[in-house]
C-alpha cells in the first residue's frame, strides 16, 4: 500500500463528496425544510403521508411496479428459457433484438407505440378497415398501456438475469432431480426455478424500481398519479408555489428511499444465496437441448412476436420521421425530409450539445473511473469497499433525484448551475457506475502477476499501468466508454431539471417538441436520429467485443 494509492483514493473520495454526497445530502436536508417558517422539521413528510392524494400516488406506483414485474417475469421466463436452453438457428439475432430495449431510450418506445397502438393508430385503423372492429380499441392509454410499455422496456433485464441463471446453474442439479424421479415441469418448478432466484432477483429489483424512476412514460400516456410524475410536475411546473415544490422534493426523496432500500435488500439477499458458484459442473456448457418440432415452432413464433414488437420502435419512428401529417391513416401518405431539415436548420445546437455534454462527461468518467477501478480491485486502501458501495448505489438512485439535488445544491451556495458545465457533471454523476463496472470487471479478469512481473522488472506503478494494464484492459475500457456514452447521450431525467436556454440536448428537444403538441413529427425524427446514433455505437461495441458487456453486467458479477 503506497502513499500514491492513498492520495489517489483521497482524490476520488473528494470527487464523490462534491458530486454525489454533497448534492444528495443537500436534497435530503431540503426535504425537511418547512417553507412557511423557514425552519426544519418532519412536517413535510407527515403531510405527505397524510394526504390522500400523495398516498394514492404512492400506492399507484407500488401497484404499477408489481404489475410491471409480474408481466415482464411472465413473458420473460419462457424467453429466457428458450434463449438459454434451446438449440436453434438465428439465436444471436433474436437475442440481440430481445435485448434491444435496454439501450433504446424509454421515451422512444412510448412514441412509437402511441403511433402504432393509439386510438387512431396503425393497428386500430387496420382493424377497422378490415371490418373486425367498428370503434377503436384503447390499447395504450391507461394503466394497461403503461404496464405494457414499461414491462417491454425492462424485459431485457429479466431475460438477461434469468438466462444467466439457466445457463450458470450446474447441470448436475437438474440431472440429480431427474434421477430422483422428477422430470419435466416438476423438475423445473422444484429445482431449476428456485436455483435461479438469486440471479433473477438481481434483475427483478431493477425492474421493480423502474416505475419509481420513470416520470416521462406516465406523463406521455396521460397518467400523472405516480410518484415520479407528480414529483416532476410539482417541481418543474409549480416552482412559484413553494409548498407544492417542497412536496415534490419529498416525493423525490421518498422514491429514492424506496429505491435504495429495495436495491440494498435485494443485494444482501443475492449475496447470501448465491447458488451458481456453489459447485462447478464438469459440463460447463450447460444444458442445451433440441426441442421437439412443436415446441420449436412455438418458440420461434414467440421470439418472433417479441422481436416484432421491439422492432416496431425503430420502424414506426422511422416512418414517422420521414413523413408529415401522418394522421388517420395506417401508414404515412406524404414522404418528406422536412423534419430533418427543421432539426438541422433550427436546432443543430441540440445535437451539438448532446455530443459535447456526453463527451465531456465521458472524459470525467474515464479520469475518475480508471483510478477508481484500480483502487477497488488492486489495492487494500481503507474505505475501498465503501467507495464501491457508494458508486454502485448510484445505479439505484432515480435520475430525477440527481437532477433536483444538483439544482438545489449548486444554486446559491455553490453557483455552478449557471454554467453549462453543470450538464456534463450531472450526466457524469448519474451514469458513473456504467463505466466503472466495465473497468472493474476487466480489471478483475487481468491476472495480477502480469502487473507484478512488470514491477519486478523495474517499472513503477504508473508505468506499469500505462505499459501493461491499460493495453490489456483496453477492450473492456472501450466497451465501457461506448456504453457510458450511449447512456449519457440518452439521459433526460437529470438533464430536464438543469438545462437552460441554449443547453438543450436531443432528449430534451424530443420532450419539448412532444410537449408543444404540434411537432410530433420532429420529436419522432429526433428520436429516430437518437436510435440511429445508438445503433452505430452498438455496432462499435459488438466489433470490440460484446462478451465483455455480458461479463460486466451479468447478474453474477453484480
Amino acid at each position: 500500500m503506497s502513499r500514491g494509492d492513498y492520495s489517489l483514493s483521497t482524490f476520488i473520495w473528494l470527487i464523490i463528496a462534491f458530486l454525489v454526497i454533497y448534492p444528495l445530502s443537500f436534497l435530503l436536508v431540503e426535504s425537511f425544510k418547512i417553507v412557511e417558517t423557514g425552519g426544519f422539521g418532519i412536517g413535510n413528510f407527515i403531510e405527505f403521508f397524510h394526504d390522500t392524494y400523495y398516498l394514492k400516488t404512492f400506492a399507484n406506483t407500488l401497484w404499477l411496479s408489481t404489475l410491471v414485474l409480474l408481466t415482464s417475469t411472465l413473458f420473460g421466463i419462457p424467453l429466457a428459457y428458450i434463449l438459454a436452453r434451446y438449440r436453434q438457428v438465428g439465436k444471436t439475432v433474436f437475442t440481440a433484438l430481445i435485448l434491444l430495449p435496454i439501450v433504446l431510450p424509454a421515451y422512444a418506445g412510448v412514441f412509437a407505440f402511441i403511433i402504432f397502438f393509439g386510438k387512431f393508430g396503425t393497428l386500430n385503423l387496420l382493424l377497422m378497415e378490415a371490418g373486425i372492429i367498428s370503434t377503436p380499441i384503447n390499447f395504450i392509454y391507461g394503466l394497461h398501456g403503461l404496464v405494457f410499455v414499461q414491462a417491454l422496456h425492462m424485459l431485457p433485464f429479466i431475460v438477461l438475469s434469468l438466462a444467466a441463471g439457466f445457463t450458470q446453474i450446474d447441470p448436475a442439479f437438474e440431472e440429480a432431480a431427474e434421477v430422483e424421479g422428477a422430470s419435466g415441469f416438476r423438475r423445473f418448478i422444484t429445482i431449476t426455478l428456485p436455483l435461479c432466484t438469486p440471479t433473477y432477483l438481481a434483475g427483478a429489483v431493477i425492474v421493480f424500481l423502474w416505475p419509481f424512476t420513470d416520470w416521462l412514460t406516465p406523463l406521455i400516456l396521460g397518467q400523472v398519479d405516480y410518484l415520479p410524475s407528480i414529483a416532476y410536475i410539482n417541481i418543474a411546473y409549480h416552482f412559484t408555489d413553494m409548498h407544492r415544490k417542497y412536496m415534490g422534493i419529498v416525493a423525490v426523496v421518498v422514491s429514492s428511499v424506496v429505491c435504495i432500500s429495495l436495491f440494498l435488500l435485494a443485494r444482501w439477499w443475492v449475496e447470501r444465496k448465491k447458488y451458481t458458484g456453489l459447485s462447478k459442473g464438469t459440463t460447463s456448457e450447460g444444458r442445451v437441448i433440441e426441442p421437439g418440432i412443436l415446441l420449436k415452432t412455438a418458440s420461434y413464433l414467440y421470439m418472433g412476436l417479441t422481436a416484432f414488437i421491439v422492432l416496431l420502435i425503430p420502424i414506426v419512428l422511422g416512418l414517422s420521421a420521414f413523413s408529415r401529417r401522418w394522421v388517420f391513416s395506417p401508414f404515412p401518405t406524404y414522404w418528406t425530409l422536412d423534419n430533418f431539415r427543421v432539426i438541422l436548420a433550427e436546432s443543430p445546437l441540440l445535437i451539438q450539445n448532446s455530443f459535447v455534454f456526453s463527451a465531456v462527461a465521458l472524459v470525467f468518467g474515464i479520469v475518475f473511473g480508471l483510478p477508481a477501478a484500480y483502487i477497488i480491485v488492486r489495492t487494500r486502501v481503507r474505505g475501498k469497499d465503501a467507495l464501491d458501495f457508494v458508486i454502485t448505489l448510484m445505479l439505484a438512485f432515480p435520475g430525477m433525484a440527481v437532477g433536483v439535488s444538483y439544482l438545489l445544491a449548486f444554486w446559491n451556495t455553490i453557483p455552478l448551475a449557471t454554467h453549462w458545465m453543470i450538464m456534463p457533471l450531472a450526466l457524469f454523476a448519474r451514469r458513473l457506475p456504467y463505466f466503472l463496472r466495465m473497468a472493474h470487471s476487466s480489471y478483475l479478469q487481468l491476472d495480477v502477476s502480469l502487473e507484478e512481473a512488470s514491477e519486478v522488472s523495474g517499472a513503477g506503478k504508473l508505468r506499469t499501468f500505462f505499459y501493461i494494464s491499460l493495453p490489456l484492459l483496453i477492450k473492456g475500457v472501450l466497451v465501457g466508454v461506448v456504453m457510458f456514452f450511449i447512456m449519457a447521450f440518452q439521459e433526460i431525467s437529470t438533464a430536464i431539471f438543469l438545462y437552460r436556454g441554449g443547453w438543450e440536448t436531443l432528449p430534451i428537444g424530443i420532450f419539448l417538441n412532444w410537449h408543444r403538441g404540434m411537432e410530433f413529427g420532429i420529436a419522432a425524427a429526433m428520436a429516430f436520429l437518437m436510435i440511429v446514433i445508438t445503433f452505430i455505437l452498438l455496432l462499435i461495441i459488438s466489433r470490440i467485443g460484446g462478451s465483455i458487456l455480458k461479463a460486466a453486467w451479468g447478474p453474477g458479477s453484480r
Binding site: D170, E175, A176, E178, V179, E180, G181, T190, K273, S279
Partner: protein, 360 residues
Amino acid sequence: MAFIEIKNLFKRFKKVVAVNRIHIDIAQGEMLTLLGPSGCGKTTTLRCIAGLERPEDGDIVIDGKSMVAEDFVQPSKRGIGMVFQNYAVWPHMKVVNNIIYGLKFQGFSKKEIRSKAEQVLDLVDLSGLEERYPGQLSGGQQQRVALARALVRNPKVLLLDEPLSNLDAKLREKMRFEIKSLVKRMGITSVYVTHDQAEAMVISDRIVVMESGNVVQIGNPEQIYQNPANRFVADFIGAMNFISGEIVRVLPDSGNVQVRTECSGNMLCQTPDMAATTSGKQVYASIRPEDVQILSNPPQETENLFKGTIAHRAYLGNFMFFFVNINGTMIRVQVPHHLPHEEGDEVYLFLNPQKCMILF
C-alpha cells in the same frame, strides 16, 4: 443372467465416438468400476445407464428390462440412485429435504418418509445435521448427503461418478472403505466411475479398464495388475518398465520367450498368450519396478542380468526409487528398504524371467 447387461452400447457426440460398441455384464450385488483416463468414455457409459444420455445404438438391460432398445426409459423411471462428481446437493433445500426429495413422488406416508430419512441419515453418519443448508456443510458432509439421497429410495442400482475426486487425500482414502462397506452391506449392484487406479483397486469386485471408448480389459484387481491385457493397461495400473524388442525364439514347453531388446541383448520372458507369440514380432518386455532386483556384485545367474549406472535415486520413507540407465534405456526400480547406492554408481539389475512378460 446378469443383473445389468450393457449390449453393443454406442454413443457419439457430433463426430467424436465416446463409447464404441462395448459389452459389459454386471452381476447382482456386484461392485463394478469403470476405470480409465479422461475422455475414455467411462462417464458417458455411466450416464447412459442412468438415462442421462441417449445412446445411438445398443441396449442396456437392468433386471431383465430393456432401458433403451424397446422404449427409452426416462432417468426418473429407472429406479436408480446416483452420486454426482460435484455432489449436486441442491443448495436451496435443507439436508433432510434434499434426501427425501425423491421419496415424495413415490406415495409414501409422511411417517414412512421420516423414518426412512432418519435411517439413512444414521447410516451415513449425518444425524443432527438434517436442518442445515448444504452451504453450511463441509465437502465431506455434502458428499454424505449425496450418498444418503442416492440410497434412501433403496435403488436397484447405485451409480457413482467420481464421487471422491473433490475431497482431500486423507478423507478420500477413508471414504473409499466407507462407501464399499456400506454398499456391500446393502447389497446394491453398483457402478463406480473413477480415473484413480488406487481407488478402483480398493473399491471394486471387478474393474473395467477403458480407453478411447473401448473396453480394454475386465477383471478383478489382481488379474488386472498381474496380467494386464496390453501395454496401456499395464501402464495405467501401477508402474511398468517397457523395453522394446523383437521375439527371436519361442520355447513352447516352458512357456518362455526370448526377446532381443534394444538395450542389451536377449531377455527371457513369459508370454500371456502363446498363440499370438510368433518369432519376429515387435513386443515390449515388461517388468514391474518392484520385481527388479538391484545388486552390487554379479551373481551366479546369467539370464536377464544387466549392468547399468544409477541415474537418479529418491528416498520416499517406506521405499526407495532408482532409475538405472542400461545403454540408454531407463529402468525404474523400487525397493522396500534402504540401499546405499548413490547416483553414478555401477550396479547390476536382475530382471527375474518369472516376472518378465511380453506385452503387445
